[in-house]
């Protein structure tokens, strides 16, 4: 009788507070900015703390497989906090996408991901939409050959999940050639991966659906990361414009600015509702989850870019500097917009899902 709850529960609020505290202590913007100059020393320790010490890597893994048996709603709250700090950790790629690919697999890998003992990445370009074409890797006698570009989470991964011939194989990252690329968003640095006939272990036999479901879930939960990012941009900009004075008054008191910020606030609230619904339908196994995931991406990914662009513009001079963190958010927002399907790709997908046919 009641409709899907779109508010945060107390358990989620507590989880958020725990994650926020750790990120406040250990994910300073100055250290994050250093990623752009090649200093990745932050990454391993931060991921270990989140994955193993807080146990977040196992959120989506059932308890009997060594996980926390939580739902997409809790994972969404973690992602909001990671987006809020543009944290450079492979939560989305390992604890969400790779984990969900393995969800119905046997073998020890799922439990190892859950405990944080191992970190994995699915070999697809970050730009792959859930309904898009998957890269071609050939398999012969259990040996994998092919090149996949622009993979997120591969640098941090010790295990790579390779989709080939309808199945998913795991390979040790050390056996592949992983080449980091200079990325638009260095807080989620991409890599190209080459497989030269290396041995893979079959982990999911009939895997096409599992991979697609994992990408749908990844897109749905990416929206929560984008909400966290957008909310930071809004709050930081509002705070700054209450303090910044020009013409003898606070810049945030000018109506042209107030109306832009009001529109942005409306957008952030709307994005929150879309992302919560996507997470809630995912958590409930609701048949609307596929539509909800594309609705969330079609709306939230553009909104997050708008929020970051407004943050730069309304901070003005200081927003254009390397010193101010706004650029970290702009780069993450723009890369996130392309990640897992652009807004346009998701709208095109919705046309079929909700019966608004393309003109003939």
């Amino acid at each position: 009788m009641s409709d899907t709850n779109l508010l945060y529960t107390e358990v989620e609020d507590d989880l958020r507070a725990t994650v926020r505290k750790l990120l406040t202590d250990r994910c300073d913007p100055v250290v994050v900015t250093a990623l752009y100059d090649g200093d990745r020393s932050l990454v391993d320790g931060l991921w270990k703390a989140l994955a193993a010490e807080l146990g977040l890597a196992g959120l989506l893994v059932p308890e009997d497989r060594g996980g926390a048996g939580a739902s997409a709603l809790e994972a969404a709250v973690v992602l909001e906090e990671l987006g809020r700090t543009v944290a450079p950790v492979p939560f989305l790629t390992s604890a969400v996408i790779a984990t969900l690919v393995l969800r119905d697999s046997d073998g020890p890998l799922l439990g190892q991901l859950a405990s944080g003992e191992k970190t994995a990445a699915l070999l697809v370009p970050l730009s792959t939409a859930p309904h898009g074409a998957l890269p071609t890797v050939t398999v012969a006698d259990g040996r994998l050959t092919g090149t996949v570009t622009s993979i997120a989470g591969a640098i941090e991964a010790d295990t790579l999940l390779v989709f080939a011939d309808g199945a998913v194989f795991s390979v040790a990252a050390a056996d592949a050639t992983v080449t980091p690329v200079v990325s638009l968003d260095m807080t989620r640095q991409l890599a190209d991966v080459r497989l030269d006939g290396i041995a893979g272990e079959l982990v999911v036999a009939d895997a096409e659906q599992a991979v697609q479901d994992a990408l749908v879930a990844g897109a749905a939960l990416l929206a929560s990361e984008q909400v966290g990012l957008a909310r930071w941009c809004l709050e930081e900009t509002v705070t700054y414009l209450k303090e910044r004075k020009q013409f003898g008054r606070a810049v945030g008191g000018f109506q042209a600015i107030k109306h832009r910020l009001a529109d942005l606030a409306i957008g952030v609230e709307s994005a929150t509702a879309a992302a919560r619904y996507a997470a809630a339908t995912l958590a409930a196994g609701d048949e609307d989850a596929v539509v909800a995931s594309s609705v969330a991406q079609a709306y939230v990914s553009d909104l997050a870019v708008l929020a970051a662009e407004e943050a730069v513009q309304l901070h003005a001079g200081i927003g254009m500097t390397w010193e101010h963190p706004a650029h970290l958010y702009l780069k993450r927002a723009k890369a996130d917009q392309i990640a897992l399907g652009t807004a346009g790709a998701h709208r095109a997908r919705l046309a079929g899902l909700v019966d608004l046919p393309t003109p003939q």
Binding site: S2, D3, N5, Q255, E269, A273, L356
Partner: protein, 395 residues
């Protein structure tokens, strides 16, 4: 004792078993439904509700509708149900609640809103309609002019704000009343709009008598009471409970019905708006879930700004989709409709009527100010008239 969802379902079934919609007289059924607490379940017991979450109401209504229960004329009484009722519930005396809420809900008494004036639009607090206390009777005598009053020609009662103390600054000298629209001093004249019809009215008030027991809230408290009404209005307007309700449903249907009219450019715009309408639906749902825990604040302002923009863009899109057909208009004749239907009539009407969505109930510009100041805490607009007695303001 709190009732769970199962308990509520059971109550509905018991009620329907005892009051067969097919054989029970309409008004008798509606009054009994109110008395059983199944009218608006989020209202308190004794006033048509059971103190349950407002989010449960759509399912209750759906069950009654499926059972063939009579309608409470809600299309004609949007102001009463959406604005007057929650305000009376919050600020009314027990006697006022007993007197007004049931006939309001059953549709026996239709309500209208006497707020805006020719000289007080966005600046509603500058209103000049005067209410003067008559010493002998204690009644209030009201004189002035109101405007943009939907349904005034059908209404038995009005929520009215009037100035009771012109010596105080504008926000402080206002009092809120429940006025009888059948008083001989009430003169309702149709106000023709850009659609051709006269859904709104001008209302001239000449020595209209309002007994003091029909004052809602304290003397001078009218601004706070009116703000509660307007917050309820904005929440009532923004966001619909089911997917593809409202304008998006109309335009999506036109798209499905007319493959020959589809173009890639319109397709892209339609998909964008479909997504926005769906997200707006979810945002409304989330706001209502928040409000179940408290009174509406500025959240409704955000919903209404979005609702207006989407309705306007969609209705414009529909005209472009229909092409040549859109160059024709159904009928410019001045009629006085008995209810407002944003998605009614033809595409041309919808386009023109939607222009009102960003004006009625607070312009989108004023609502953005409200959002910026009350939600984001940004500095207020300069208010040079804030501390000046109303009588000394430039008019």
């Amino acid at each position: 004792m709190t009732i769970d969802e199962q308990g509520l379902r059971r109550r509905i079934e018991e009620f329907l078993a005892a009051h067969d919609p097919a054989t029970t007289e309409r008004l008798e059924f509606l009054r009994a439904r109110y008395n059983a607490g199944l009218a608006w379940v989020h209202f308190p017991e004794g006033h048509g509700g059971l103190g349950l979450p407002q989010a449960w109401q759509p399912a209750v209504d759906a069950r009654f509708e499926a059972a063939g229960a009579p309608d409470n004329n809600k299309k004609a009484n949007g102001i009463g149900l959406g604005m007057a009722a929650p305000t009376i519930l919050r600020f009314g005396t027990e006697e006022q609640k007993q007197r007004f809420l049931r006939p309001l809900w059953t549709g026996e008494e239709i309500w209208c809103q006497l707020f805006s004036e020719p000289g007080a639009g966005s600046d509603l607090a500058a209103l000049g309609t005067r209410a003067v206390r008559e010493a002998a009777s204690g009644d209030w005598i009201v004189n002035g002019q109101k405007v943009w009053t939907s349904g005034a020609h059908l209404a038995q009662f009005a929520i009215l704000v009037a100035r009771t103390d012109p010596d105080l600054p504008k926000h402080q000298g206002i009092t809120y009343f429940l006025a009888d629209m059948t008083d001989p001093g009430v003169d309702v004249r149709p106000l023709r709009q850009i659609t051709g019809e006269a859904e709104f009215n001008e209302v001239f008030l000449t020595d209209v008598r309002v007994p003091d027991i029909q004052r809602l809230g304290e003397v001078g408290q009218g601004w706070a009471v009116a703000n509660a009404t307007l917050s309820n209005e904005r929440v009532a307007i923004g966001g619909s409970p089911v997917r593809e309700n409202g304008m998006i449903g109309v335009v999506a249907k036109a798209w499905r019905d007319h493959p020959e009219l589809r173009t890639p450019e319109l397709h892209d715009r339609l998909l964008r708006l479909w997504v926005e309408a769906e997200v707006s639906r979810l945002t409304g749902q989330r706001v209502r879930q928040k409000l179940a825990l408290g009174q509406p604040g500025a959240e409704g302002a955000a919903l209404k700004v979005t609702f207006a923009r989407i309705a306007q863009e969609l209705s414009g899109l529909e005209l472009e989709l229909r092409g040549e057909q859109s160059l024709r208009y159904s009928d410019w004749a001045m009629v006085r409709p008995d209810h407002v239907d944003f998605t009614g009539r033809d595409a041309g009407y919808r386009y023109l009527r939607a222009k009102g969505n960003s004006i009625e109930g607070g312009t989108s510009e004023i609502l953005r100010n409200i959002m910026a100041e009350r939600v984001l805490g940004l500095p207020s607009e300069p208010r040079v008239d804030k501390d000046v007695p109303w009588k000394d303001l430039a008019k």
